[in-house]
């Protein structure tokens, strides 16, 4: 068998182990919170007797390890439990929320990733000249401003003054794709501006690093033009670090968009999580936490695998 499969299998196994470790942390962390689910449900009306009854019926008196495996087992079968606050099935309400979050993240990624890489290449081509400085200045400015601030500024100028897109990003299943895109246009812009700088700077640094190599000089001495050298000789050797930072930012787009969702009242995972943290709805928080962890680990796993595949020494051993 090709040795590269072994490497990839190792990575995947490591990812799964990491996910288990994360689930233990999440479960353990929420266990340490004062009070328990029974107390939350009963609230003011808790008497020692009905507390004990409820604990018995919910299985809260079982040892924590058993409860952990019960929770995890349910999770693996798609049973995320029921929310305490409204008694609804978590999997059901989470499903559509997750879909919305991924929808927003997807469109933000579709715009920001190619744009960031293109700007990075451009910055390398015009290194230390005005286009490079302009790109760096603009992207560093947008990453430095808090995202809610950018959100409000864009709402003011684009939505209210120019009247182009909606300022509220509420979407539902009955809307057409066009209407949905219209609704999320401004949040997508905000997210793009937030993640652009990181990916652009990393692309620039990774390619500049490769541009120091002797084989770039070889290409120059073949009479090739700069853009062609960057695209043909430098970029393939800079893929691994670029993919790495792209994946980190994609993970951020899924996991870290809480603020943007709240600003635009977007019905995504982030807002769902914030709502239920406020209401101390522990099962929902646990479910969201584990899904976020899975997204993070999954995307980084992809980055690792791409880095392995991009390395010709691993792909074509001696």
């Amino acid at each position: 068998m090709h040795p590269i499969f072994k490497l990839i299998a190792q990575r995947v196994a490591l990812g799964i182990m990491l996910l288990f470790a994360a689930s233990v942390l999440i479960f353990g962390g929420t266990m340490m919170l004062p009070g328990d689910v029974a107390q939350q449900i009963l609230g003011q009306s808790a008497t020692p007797e009905n507390l004990a009854n409820l604990r018995e019926s919910m299985g809260l008196n079982d040892p924590p390890v058993a409860r952990y495996f019960q929770w995890l087992g349910g999770f693996l079968q798609g049973d995320l439990g029921t929310a305490l606050t409204n008694g609804r099935d978590i999997a059901e309400s989470l499903g559509s929320r997750l879909g919305n979050t991924l929808f927003l993240a997807f469109w933000a990624a579709v715009i920001s990733v190619p744009l960031a890489i293109f700007l990075g290449l451009l910055a390398v081509r015009y290194k230390d000249r005005w286009p490079d400085k302009l790109i760096s200045a603009v992207t560093l400015t947008t990453i430095s401003i808090p995202e809610f601030m950018i959100g409000y500024v864009l709402i003011y100028w684009i939505s209210i003054k120019a009247g182009w897109f909606s300022s509220v990003a509420i979407i539902n299943d009955s809307m057409s794709l066009g209407a949905k895109l219209n609704a999320i246009a401004i949040p997508v812009m905000v997210l793009t501006l937030v993640v652009l700088a990181h990916m652009m700077r990393m692309t620039r640094a990774a390619i500049l690093n490769v541009m120091q190599s002797a084989y770039i000089e070889t290409a120059e001495l073949k009479g090739m033009g700069m853009l062609k050298i960057i695209a043909k000789h430098a970029f393939p050797n800079a893929i691994a670090p670029i993919v790495n930072v792209v994946m980190l930012n994609l993970a951020y787009l899924v996991v870290g968009v809480v603020v943007v969702e709240v600003v635009f009242a977007y019905p995504g995972m982030g807002q769902y999580l914030v709502d239920h943290v406020a209401k101390r709805d522990v099962p929902v928080v646990q479910a969201c936490g584990l899904i976020f962890a899975a997204v993070y680990i999954g995307l980084n796993l992809i980055a690792d695998i791409v880095a392995i595949l991009a390395n010709p020494r691993l792909r074509h051993p001696k």
Binding site: E220, K222, G223
Partner: protein, 546 residues
Amino acid sequence: MAVEPLLKVRDLKIGATIYPPGERPRDIEIVHGVSFDLEGGKVLGLIGESGAGKSTIGLAAMAYGRGGVEITGGEVHVSGRDILKSGLRDVRKLRGGEVTYVSQSAAASFNPAKKIMEQVTEAAIFQGKFSKQDAEARAVALFAKLGLPDPENIGDRYPHQVSGGQLQRCMTALALCPEPDLVVFDEPTTALDVTTQIEVLAAIKDAIRDTGVAALYITHDLAVVAQVSDHIMVLQQGSMVEYGTTDQIINNPQEEYTQALVSVRSIKHEEKKPGDTPLLKVDHITARYRGTNFDVLKDVNVELHPGQTLAIVGESGSGKSTLARVITGLLPPSDGQITFDGRVLSPDLPTRSLEDLRELQMIYQMADTAMNPRQTVGTIIGRPLEFYFGLKGKDKQTRIQELLDQIELGDGFQDRYPAELSGGQKQRVCIARALAAKPKLIICDEVTSALDPLVADGILKLLLKLQKDEDVSFLFITHDLATVRAIADSIAVMFQGQVVRYGPKSQVLAPPFDDYTDLLLSSVPEMKLGWLEDVLANRKMESAGN
């Protein structure tokens, strides 16, 4: 009207911006008005030490300045056109088409992410000289001419899948593929082992002859350039010292500097007889690196007597540096033991006594990376004085100055930083640091390999003088047989982890030889016209005789 030469360089001036530490950047001139002609189909050797400007001049033939280097004046005509006055578009047409380049390190000059064939044919196709099909056929023919194994398929491999010597030949194929008028060879064999160098050199020479291409052959090794060039130009610090036919430069050099280059290795060293008790005894050492399944050293036995020099000779990968790691305790052996000054050394560095550490010092190939760039020379040499002898204050200062005098650096060096020193001076500071510990044995790992011949000569003389004064022993690791001849008392020849020949210098370097030592010795270039042909003819005869 006389025929216009292929390459005509007139009063070429090249400048660079330097950034001295703590000062403002300033412009300096590194080539001061060099002129020469090169006719089509001829080979001109550019020779000089590092900093002579030979690579810079070679790249100027492609109107290229490496890093911050800029051509500031003069003319460079290729086939009658002044390429310094051409626009970027015309220069790009020239590069990779009419003039091509072979670099010192093919390993670094090939893109690791692309197949060899794609890179070899790229310029020929890109410049519109050949169709993809013709270029690939041409590449295969060149692979065959350059003696590469399996020429039909080697192009499908990636650079890391072939050896260094093979890759250097691929680089030559890359340069010849677009059918250029001129190839700039920039130290194409310097990074190779001698036994590989001779093969690549012969391949390059044949290829130049068969394709009728002109070449600028840049090297610091006069013996190598004597084998391939028609004319030689000697450069020193950006100026021409002497220009003449190869025969005249080698056999009848006019200038003092050229004479010094030709007669380098002036050291005569009388071999010392071994005493009764050895200082160092390497006893049945077998070693391997963790996580590997083969022995890098196989049953190595050598001895070194007090005040003498044992040279460990071998090519890269022969295990000579690993032997140094075992002796210093960096790599505990899997079998065997090291006896030093009558006591058995602990195999593992952390369990050795301070005294063991003090008596066994090391000097490295790259003096640059062996010193902390943020410490002054005084601090660097003072450190072992504090660490081993607890010297402080005035005593320490006096001792540092003594050591500096010993390495012939004199006053004013204590407060300088490594970056302000030349390559030879840096290596001297490293020697002083080793000497500061008053060691009985110094392991010298390729200490002169990164230095120019004249500078290396000075270092070797210094080491011999110190040996006489301090009665210190040297374990001298090198791939350079000329160095071995100059300083060794006994020699161990290593090949694939084994000592294949061992004894006093006079015995090891005298026939009858074993096969490997014979190959190694006969591969060292000699400063003699026609040496390459003689050696190859000899080898052919021998193999025919067998």
